[in-house]
């Protein structure tokens, strides 16, 4: 889908590039701990992380900034990889959970759960989000591949149609009940603020299984990229590979949506940047996209915190505003067939 960049032609270079991305992530992590409404020096930061004396900087870092940064890394990893998997499976550079109605499916299921009184904890939110995400993913892919198979415009519009339908149903539920609306609006914007380590812990099992499935699926995807017939000729079970991919996408998106709400454009951004650096090999692309996604979400959260002043701008909004131009750039670059 995209020719390999000349700089990434050898495994050594790729490993070095991946290492560099990890270093950037670590720097972003440190910056996220240090910066905010109160800026902390390296000394104060080290003190907070190693010895908890209960001073103000210690409390800020340990109970506020550290948890949300950990959540941002985990969810960024999940959504970055989910997006890249979708792009690989659909052979469509624009594939992304947010645009393709997957997040709307998860959101609808969660709101339905809230309204029916079935959602009490984050864990039950995950189950609903998972179900919604899986059904929406499956529905969009099935609907978009009628006729001649999925095209960028067809898939994007199918996603938009499914998202509109689910959005209408979601608002029908939300509008009947002011309490649901009040919790929904804070969840729907997509944010890592106020997410504790307990949230990370509850979605962790789903994320880990999703990441494992993605790791297994990466090699299948490389074969699928040659075309279904060739892949089948090489001994790949197409059905199994697609199901694995669907499971991974659903689990990873559900973990992300359950923890942070629907955060759009992260998968698009990570997949695209990773593809520019690493070319089309999924075994490299997928881990790289995960690291990039994590970095992007940490930075988006940080930017929102620094820009907003007293009231912060949520990471989901920051990514929406950065991600849309990104999307437009991708669209303008390639010839789009309907």
């Amino acid at each position: 889908m995209c020719s390999a960049a000349p700089t990434a032609s050898r495994p050594v270079r790729r490993a070095a590039a991946l290492l560099a991305l990890v270093v950037v992530l670590v720097v972003a992590f440190a910056a996220s701990l240090a910066l905010g409404s109160r800026w902390l020096g390296p000394g104060a930061l080290w003190h907070a992380l190693t010895a908890n004396t209960g001073s103000d900087p210690d409390v800020i870092v340990r109970s506020l900034r550290f948890p949300r940064t950990v959540v941002a890394v985990l969810i960024g990893l999940c959504l970055g990889i989910a997006g890249t998997l979708m792009q690989g499976h659909t052979r469509n550079a624009l594939a992304e959970p947010g645009i393709f109605g997957v997040s709307s499916g998860a959101a609808f299921a969660v709101v339905l759960g809230l309204q029916l009184g079935l959602v009490e904890s984050v864990a039950s939110t995950v189950w609903f989000a998972l179900l919604g995400a899986l059904i929406a993913t499956f529905a969009v892919q099935q609907l978009a591949s009628r006729g001649t198979g999925s095209t960028p415009v067809g898939l994007a519009l199918t996603g938009a149609a499914v998202a509109a339908l689910l959005g209408a149903l979601t608002s029908a539920i939300v509008l009947l009940d002011a309490d649901t609306l009040d919790s929904y609006r804070f969840w729907a914007v997509g944010s890592v603020a106020g997410r504790g380590l307990d949230v990370a812990g509850q979605v962790l099992p789903f994320a880990v299984i999703g990441l494992l499935l993605a790791a297994i699926n990466a090699r299948d995807l490389d074969m699928l990229a040659l075309g279904d017939d060739v892949a089948a000729g090489l001994g790949l079970s197409i059905r199994r590979a697609r199901l694995l991919g669907l499971g991974a996408i659903g689990l990873l998106t559900a973990a992300g949506v359950a923890a942070c709400g629907p955060i759009g454009f992260l998968g698009l951004l990570s997949g695209h940047v990773a593809r520019r650096i690493f070319g089309a090999r999924n075994t490299w692309l997928i881990p790289a996209a995960g690291v990039i996604g994590a970095t992007a979400l940490v930075l988006a959260d940080l930017v929102g915190r620094l820009v907003g002043g007293a009231g912060e701008v949520q990471a989901g909004v920051v990514l929406g505003i950065i991600g849309a131009p990104m999307f437009v750039i991708v669209v303008r670059r390639r010839a789009v067939a309907l």
Partner: protein, 342 residues
């Protein structure tokens, strides 16, 4: 061909009026149709007059007018871009208008003194029009490459810009007071609930001024269907007419959005259905307008009373929920057709 279009326009208009009349009879107090007609003709008792003229008619009139405005806007955009999917819902006009209007609802809301008077009457429509125009401008500017507008790209870039505007809306909902957020959320679903004459009149002005202007370009539109080159050889000043009609389409969609919220898919569905029924080469404006009005008042009647009639409970849904529930499958159907025709 021509007479078919005229007959269908009259038929849809008659149906829209019939549904509107039925709509005026239902509510907390059920009125006989004869009483409603008597009031509309200038008679009737004072109580009945109040209920019909001040409570129910504004809602129904707003419904008819936004239906016309959305449908005409969709017909113009679809014809200009030669793409049945390029309706204001999809290419970001409604999202831009929503962001503008929600900004006014939230930022001028309870936090800074209750939104009322001038701010509500002028501010929301104005902000909606500005937001819609801005979105159109961005999408239009970005989809021109080497002087050519690519119809496929217009749609995709519109989807992107709509997503950005929607995340802005989500943020505005969070920073606002919960009551303002509730009002904004109800408005965002596309609702005709408790509309007053002050909601209907701006849309009425837009429709009365802009629909005739758009109709004046009927011949140019027919020429544009044949392609820009053919149109200019027929003496159509393509660039100028495109610009004028694009602005008209945007203002109509934005004014309708200001009046009743971004009621989903009316602008997409009405022109396409009109196109198929009239068997023209482009959606005829008048037929589309009447069909749009019919679609909205019928959907509102069902959304308001459907759950009661089905004995589910005393719930009223916003009209936008119902139009989305009908429109989304239709959009899916259209996409399937386009892909098969590829």
């Amino acid at each position: 061909m021509r007479s078919r279009t005229v007959v269908l326009s009259i038929l849809f208009a008659a149906l829209a009026i019939a549904v509107a009349l039925v709509s005026l009879t239902v509510g907390t107090a059920k009125l006989p149709l004869a009483d409603v007609v008597e009031v509309l003709l200038g008679g009737g008792r004072r109580g009945t007059r109040l209920v019909v003229l001040e409570l129910r008619l504004p809602r129904v009139a707003t419904g008819l007018l936004v239906g016309i405005a959305f449908a005409v806007s969709g017909a113009l955009l679809q014809t200009l871009s030669r793409n049945p999917l390029a309706s204001p819902d999809i290419v970001g006009v409604n999202s831009g208008a929503s962001a503008g209007a929600v900004a006014v609802i939230v930022l001028a809301g309870t936090g800074g003194g209750n939104i009322s008077g001038i701010a509500a009457k002028v501010g929301i429509p104005l902000a909606a029009v500005l937001g819609g125009l801005l979105a159109t401008l961005i999408v239009g500017a970005l989809s021109i490459q080497r002087g050519v507008v690519d119809a496929g790209k217009v749609v995709l870039i519109g989807v992107g810009i709509a997503a950005a505007a929607n995340s802005l809306v989500a943020w505005l909902l969070v920073i606002g007071d919960v009551n303002d957020a509730g009002r904004a959320a109800a408005w965002l679903a596309g609702s005709l609930n408790s509309r007053a004459w002050s909601d209907a009149i701006p849309v009425l002005i837009a429709v009365v001024l802009l629909l005739p202007v758009a109709m004046m370009f009927n011949r140019d539109l027919s020429a544009l269907v044949l392609g820009d080159d053919v149109a200019s050889s027929l003496g159509v000043r393509v660039a100028r007419i495109r610009m004028v009609l694009l602005v008209i389409a945007t203002v109509l969609a934005a004014m309708a959005t200001a009046g009743a919220g971004p009621i989903a898919f009316v602008a997409l569905v009405a022109p396409q259905v009109a196109l198929r029924l009239t068997r023209m080469e482009r959606p005829p404006l008048l037929t589309t307008a009447m069909l749009g009005a019919l679609f909205v008042v019928l959907a509102d009647l069902l959304a308001r009373n459907g759950l009661q009639w089905a004995q589910v409970g005393p719930y009223e849904l916003p009209v936008g929920v119902l139009t989305a529930a009908c429109g989304a499958p239709y959009l899916l159907h259209l996409i399937g057709r386009q892909q098969k025709g590829r």
